[in-house]
Amino acid sequence: MDFQLCSSVSSVLNFACISMSKIYCDNAAGTPVADEVADYMDKIQREIFGNPSSLHRFGQGALAVVEKSRRQVAITLGCSPGELYFTGSGSEANNLILRGSLKPGDHLITSAVEHASVYQTALELRKTGVAVSLLRPDSTGKISVEDVGAHIRPETKLISLMLVNNELGTLNSLKELAELAGEQNILLHSDAIQAYGKLPVDINNPKVDFLSISAHKIYGPKGTGAAFVRKGLKLEPFVYGGGQEGNLRAGTENVAGIGGFGVAAELICYGRKMLTNHLKQIMESFNKTLLDLKIAYHINGHSAIPGFVNITFPEISAETLMINLDLMGFAISAGSACSSGTLEPSRVLREIGMDSSEAEKTVRISFGKNNTVEDGIALARAIRKIIERITKQEVISNG
């Protein structure tokens, strides 16, 4: 198809693809795939095509890829490989854990600022007879442990709170939550999808019963997530079929994706400290340039993730900023997109008490390992340029 495309419209195509710098600053949405990961996945796709369930050597080779990856990822979480189940995404891992552990009559404590894959699942479970407490955050997006304690009742089966908020980067007090859950004998799940690979994540410190992670936030492929399920805990199967993934999630394994996840996990967890320093430097230079250029802004939440900031620019709408930055080659996130691709007001920003006019001017910027300090400076300068142009236009049209 692509060759056809080039031959049919090549003249215009060459024109449109004028060499433009591309600076990706939306790593919280998904990271570029590391070369090592892509190379390994390519090798698997071409050479290790067997079905892991087959008993011949082709199957054996594929099974080895899956199990090697399970070990690689398990090590990074401090769990045993048998406690790790691969899924089709982080969202699926969240669904698997919530839907697999709760039944009508149970009580779930979660929050109003969870990722949609927890929040919407909780709302669905409520319809089936699961009691759900949706706790409200403080103005930074954090859930109070006291509030969790106050909501515990005899039927409380599960507490599900994210490790860091995916829009704000704010950290929850997982240690205190784990103590509370342990004392009260309640299961604890943490959605660590946004934190994993960026902050230390260890299933025993603090001790959690369930954890969700995803490969595409750690320079791995899209379409592969994983659920940690502590040994001895039983979940209801999520997909019935051939019994893959410990009977929880049937279906022929995404061998290349899982293989890529393993490599990505290994790379990120060994290099995390260095990466953290690198990202902090980029963020400092970005902030400093904003100040130097006298750009009005304020930061929302308390981001614990290096290189990650939720930021309001009162002079420009997020949509306008995002589109204009994209046209200049910079990718950032302007709230959550709905299915048709327009921007929807953010539930998280509303929950932390932001009014809609402010939320409409709020974006998320997340640097990654491929960014440089110069990218941070260039992004701030680009923002300045856009704000200048737009506000000048407004003056003209109002005057």
Partner: protein, 359 residues
Amino acid sequence: MAEKVMVAMSGGVDSSVALLRVMEMGYNPIGVTMKLWKYDDVGGNLVNDTNCCSVDTVKGAKLVCDRLGVPHYTIDFTDIFRKQVVNDFADEYLRGRTPNPCVRCNSFVKWAAFFEQARVVGAGRIATGHYARIEAANGSFYLKKGVDPLKDQAYVLWGIPRRTLADTLLPLGDLTKREVREIARKNNLETAETPESMEICFVADDNYKRFLNDFRPQEVSKITRGKILENGEVVGEHPGYINYTIGQRKGLGLSRPEPRYVKKIDPASNTITVGKKDELESAGCYVSQVNWLIDEPAYPLNVLAQIRYKSRPVEAFVSQTENRLRVEFSKPKLSVTPGQSIVFFKQDIVLGGGIIESQ
């Protein structure tokens, strides 16, 4: 760097080819799909994969843009669309008139908010896939009919602000629909075979009565049965005046050797007046909300006037009354319908237009 042009991408074949042509003209295009309506608000989304603003049409637009290496965004215009187009659509039907929402969308959304959006993305011009032409002569820009008589859309563009003509590209005006499809196929555009959309985009099931009922339930529920009159005498009963439009024959429940047509709708007295075909003819009409795409002419003025999207223009004589125009047709016209647009032409140049008020 080439000048930026913001292209309105509906996800259909026309706007896709418009984009391609904008590129061929040497511009640097940006594709924007306007999100105009949320179907879940007022239902009726029975055929969601062929309608504007659905996820599938947005994806079609995105695919085409991506194939051509063009950035694409979907921008929300639902507030202004509701305010300027959908509210007026409902108001007009409730007043017993027959609105033309596409005209209002062009006048008050596309060549207004969308046109303004171009500047926000740094584009000096917009382009759309309408079948009409804009030509420059003597330092002015003129709107002309498209060359394809079957597809010509000049009629729905009479209300756009004249100043926007200079910064508007209509790259399909010199093509026929058949040629547009051929270009799309030749270039493997994903939207090459998208079906023609004829219905009102926000009334996805093409059932405007159902729509009004869902959109304005309180007001519609107050509309009661009423009398059907002919020559001042009661000849029958109607189930509610919003079910009728001028010239309508069906749904009157009258059995006469010679058919009767709706001649007049009067919400105030809740009556429908019917008549024989020849009684539907009017010698002229009053016109308001006039917009000129030329320097305002001196009256009286001889024009060709078109009173419906698919009707043939007829010679007419335009004069000015207090705050309206009076149009006299050279021959009486059938079913001159309040709420519809009347467009004035000289040959194939659109001079201007307005809204028909009364006969």
